[in-house]
């Protein structure tokens, strides 16, 4: 009797049906993300996973660490890593030095003027990176505009080699990365409550002291987020150093590409890729502990 009564009660309260309906609805909604998820899985996650696997396969086709050993033993590889970090640090540092005053200036402007000036940041941001790199190549070359004007002004007598070396690469990269730093920094400066500054001024802090003790600390999260985006993007950069470095500046990305294109050495390329990816992810995840990852990802746009 009681055994028969139980399903009857369940039917009247629809508990099972309701649970099923709820699960079905959740899955249907979640399922809307599945085409996108499929794309990311097939074109990104699985191939990168496979590269990871390849990096542990030696020339003879068996498991080996030789790809990593070669990377850490070889002088040329060490130099590539050194160059990559050097350029990334230099670019990030210069971006901070140039970007902070610019963002500060923009944040002080009234809304209309700020929007107008922001166009000067957004225009290069949306212009093709290749076009901008090309522009710098034209300006920096031996007979380029910079050399021409500098000689006319008497800054130097002989054409100086500005492109096809480290100088050119860093100039081009700073130009390309600057918007990535300025936009999040400007956003965080705009979000600073002006009352803090008034309060500090009221309490007797002079302008200089006010800036160093109140404004600067409050703008640091934005600066940190921006600098981080710049640094991470620099680590994996390819186009600008390839064009403006003229083959003399070799970064990790370029070595990966040449390993595939010239030497068809997937093992070596994969190992480099794994190290590059690991460095990127470690930086991003460490940063995620301090800055919200969404903001970081959306910071540039």
């Amino acid at each position: 009797m009681s055994e028969a009564a139980l399903p009857m009660a369940a039917a009247a309260t629809h508990a099972d049906d309701l649970r099923r309906d709820a699960r079905r609805e959740q899955l249907a909604l979640f399922g809307l993300a599945s085409p996108a998820l499929l794309l990311v899985m097939v074109v990104l996650v699985i191939p990168v996973g496979w590269l990871f696997y390849l990096s542990f396969i030696g020339a003879d086709g068996s498991f080996s660490l030789e790809n990593y050993e070669r990377m850490f033993d070889s002088k040329s590889y060490r130099r590539i890593f050194w160059t990559t970090f050097e350029i990334s640090f230099l670019t990030t540092g210069i971006c901070i030095l140039i970007g902070y005053p610019l963002a500060y200036f923009l944040a002080q402007l009234p809304r209309r003027a700020a929007n107008l000036c922001l166009i000067t940041v957004l225009l290069p941001f949306w212009t093709s990176l290749l076009v901008r790199t090309y522009a710098w190549l034209v300006l920096l070359q031996r007979k380029g505009l910079i050399n021409e004007w500098a000689i006319d002004l008497g800054l130097w007598d002989e054409p100086v080699k500005l492109a096809h070396n480290m100088t050119g690469t860093v100039i081009g990269m700073v130009h390309i990365m600057l918007p990535f730093l300025v936009l999040p920094l400007y956003g965080s400066m705009k979000a600073i409550d002006r009352d803090y500054l008034r309060a500090a001024a009221n309490l007797g802090a002079g302008p200089v002291r006010n800036f160093w003790t109140v404004f600067l600390p409050l703008s640091l999260p934005g600066l940190f987020a921006g600098a981080l985006i710049v640094f991470v993007l620099c680590l994996g950069f390819y186009v600008t150093p390839a064009v403006l470095g003229g083959g003399k500046v070799i970064m990790v990305s370029m070595k990966i590409a040449s390993n595939i294109e010239l030497f068809v050495n997937w093992g070596a390329a994969s190992a480099l890729g794994v190290v590059l990816l690991a460095a990127t992810l470690v930086i991003l995840f460490t940063a995620a502990r301090f800055v919200k990852l969404d903001r970081l990802a959306g910071g540039g746009h």
Binding site: F30, P101, L123, V138
Partner: protein
């Protein structure tokens, strides 16, 4: 002028005069941001092989060169097709995913969001060689479809982030109201939600287009032959010598970008007005 200089410029009573150094510095930086790109435009109309500024002789020979070259024309068509198709693929994919993750209360939604924005965190070169490897296996390397799929992967995070933030500020009660009035969920989304996040969707579409149109590294690996993109050809040409034709192409690309971004602004304005 003198009056303006002595007026306070901020909450901390610094005058514009004391700030002058900042204004000059910011002016120089802004000039340096814009000038290099813009200077390409007059240069592209120079008659000389050594891109002069200002040009001594004006001519459109580099544009003639570009339009006269079958290879450049074909690459342009490839790039425009790839960008257009990427827009058509990545936008609905990303918008629908953003909606699903926004409304689903499953715990996996948060993680899925992070997975879906990884394409913008992984270094491009890895995306490029990874896609290249898969495409060789799937036999779609050097095809337009391959370029579109890879570029959609890169555009997806932008669509997702832009649309998600629009959905966050959208009042879901409206969709509920529509459903209570008799609209099935999909219809409520199409007739009520979508029109109100349209600015985000249009922005996403334009960003997808630009992402594909400007992309170099992935295109280097997965495009080629008849389906070589404009950027791939430009990049290869740049490595060899400074061909002034590139200046003409760059000018055209700047024009396209400016046009698209202006469109985005115009759509943004109409939204605020309405």
């Amino acid at each position: 002028m003198a009056g303006w200089l002595s007026r306070p410029a901020s909450e901390t009573q610094v005058t514009h005069g004391q700030r002058l150094w900042l204004y000059i510095l910011a002016g120089i930086i802004m000039l340096l941001l814009v000038a290099p790109t813009l200077i390409v435009i007059p240069m592209s109309f120079s008659d000389s092989t050594y891109l002069e500024f200002p040009p001594e002789q004006w001519s459109t020979r580099w544009y003639d060169n570009y339009f006269g070259s079958l290879e450049w024309r074909s690459a342009t068509v490839t790039s425009l097709s790839a960008a257009f198709l990427t827009m058509l693929l990545a936008t609905p994919l990303g918008v629908v995913a953003a909606y699903g993750l926004h409304t689903s209360q499953m715990r996996a939604a948060r993680l899925t969001f992070v997975i879906l924005i990884t394409p913008m965190m992984v270094p491009l070169i890895l995306v490029a060689i990874g896609a290249f490897y898969v495409y060789v296996k799937l036999k779609i390397v050097y095809t337009l479809a391959g370029v579109v799929i890879a570029h959609s992967l890169l555009a997806l995070p932008l669509v997702l982030i832009v649309t998600s933030s629009a959905l966050k500020s959208y009042d879901m009660n409206q969709e509920m109201a529509a459903r209570s009035l008799g609209a099935p969920r999909w219809k409520a989304f199409l007739t009520i939600t979508l029109p109100q996040i349209r600015f985000a969707v249009i922005t996403s579409a334009l960003l997808s287009f630009l992402t594909s149109f400007d992309e170099v590294v992935v295109a280097m690996f997965v495009s080629g032959g008849d389906n070589s993109t404009l950027t791939r050809n430009m990049f290869n040409a740049l490595r060899d010598q400074i061909d002034p034709t590139i200046a003409a192409i760059s000018t055209i690309m700047i024009a396209i970008t400016t046009l698209l971004m202006t469109l985005a602004q115009v759509f943004g304005k109409t939204k605020e007005g309405g």
